[in-house]
Amino acid sequence: MREVYLDNTASAPLLPEVREAMMPYLGDIFGNPSSLHNWGDGAREAMEAARGQVAQLIGASTDEMIFTGSGTESNNLAIKGLALAQQNKGKHVVVSAIEHFSVLHSARTLAKWGFEVSEVPVDKYGAVDPDDVRRNLRDDTVLVSIMHANGEVGTIQPIGEIAAVTRERKVLFHTDAVATAGTIPINVTEVGVDALSLAANQFYGPKGVGALWVRKGARIIPLLDGGIQEEGRRAGTENVPAIVGLGKAAELAKAHMTERMKRLSGLRDRLLREVPERIEHVVVTGHPRNRLPGHASFCVEFIEGESMLMLLSSKRIAVSSGSACTSRALKASHVLIAMGLSHEIAQGSILFTIGIDNTDQDMDYVLETMPPVVDRLRQMSPLYARFTKASKGGN
């Protein structure tokens, strides 16, 4: 049976070149980059080379890059660290309603610490209006955090326009670029953001490593106290093999970005077009065009996402869902609800995130496997029975 992995947002596979680059640092070159002897030198040189590779990916300067343990850690450090460092100036932060929980929950923690948090709404496509950001700015606003793209619905935010708003008001702007860095071009200098989070496993690097870029001059309070690694902004011995992997993945992402984007968008557009053609009562979620290249997301009416995911999994197709039943908290996706979808429709969420190994044949297999899966679950669904009876009655 064909195996089709379409859950690259959960984690993309490690590229063989990346693994190869990491191997020496899981072997002979095991030193601590803070050590002053030869063993330390090798590790430090590799780590600094990786810092350069990651900086190049986002058009940043090398000394502004902090390595972290994940995208989640980068977001925590940005939200809490940048807000705390400025609390004498003000205690108000602005986020969007569809941020990742590592941003939203960090903001919630700030609220417990006496900050005020404003949430900017999104439209039905999941897009933030820069004017809404402007309306939420106050004299005591010290930080705005709006993601570059949402991993659940794929919509890309107008961060350049938002940055213009925050610059004008001299408020720091952080963007969670975990879904975009290494996938679509982003240049922090051109866009004008002040801080940016990224994670390696989103672009074929290893898990357990991310980075936070912070513009020079912006103060940040560290979350971890200890040694003075990462210029005192993140204590703890650095994860050298993973950092080397992040660097290599960043280098490859930059080199192959255009061809990868072209390929992924082609496959994505097939799903966006053909899934609703082949299955009735399907809603595309997120922006129809302005979305991540490998990202196709839908809500299938009258059925629930987890059961769809599991039946597809039994056919060796890996997808994910934002349905309440799929989440460990058993709550409907805050993203879909913020976009104005009903709880009932949001339950049918299904998400395909395409990777560089996927082919047209994979899409054929998905397009031929999915309709019978949906049909089977609909035949079981009391909601579908109600709908078909009502529409017959209407005729």
Binding site: F302, I303, E304, E306, S307, M310, L311, S314, S323, A324, C325, T326, R328, L330, H343, E344, Q347, Q379, M380, S381, P382, L383, A385
Partner: protein, 132 residues
Amino acid sequence: MPVYSEKVMDHFTNPRNVGEIENPDGVGEEGNPICGDMMTFYIKVKDNRLEDVKFKTFGCGAAIAVSSMVSEMAKGKTLEEAMKITPKSVADELEGLPKNKFHCSNLGAQALHKAIQEYLKKQKKGGEDNGK
């Protein structure tokens, strides 16, 4: 380790007794699509026994497996026996359910009991009517 037991996967991928019964003796519905899962049970009763049990379910893998298992456990039982099926006994027969799914998805027994209660209510009413 997979999230669901083999038994749950078996009932999820090959659910027993899916469908509706025409002119059922009782119908019971539990849950709603907002919280996630919704189950409708249909029963046919003969000589105080559940001659047929069918269901329709909107929900996750656990909800579908629970419905299938309840239908299998209930079919052929007396009404009194069927009323003794509990969420716990269903979960045990399924060789366990994930902790977070125990309450939200395990609504099959309640939906079946509602169908039986509806049947009993109708019987009682019918009996009274006959007596007049």
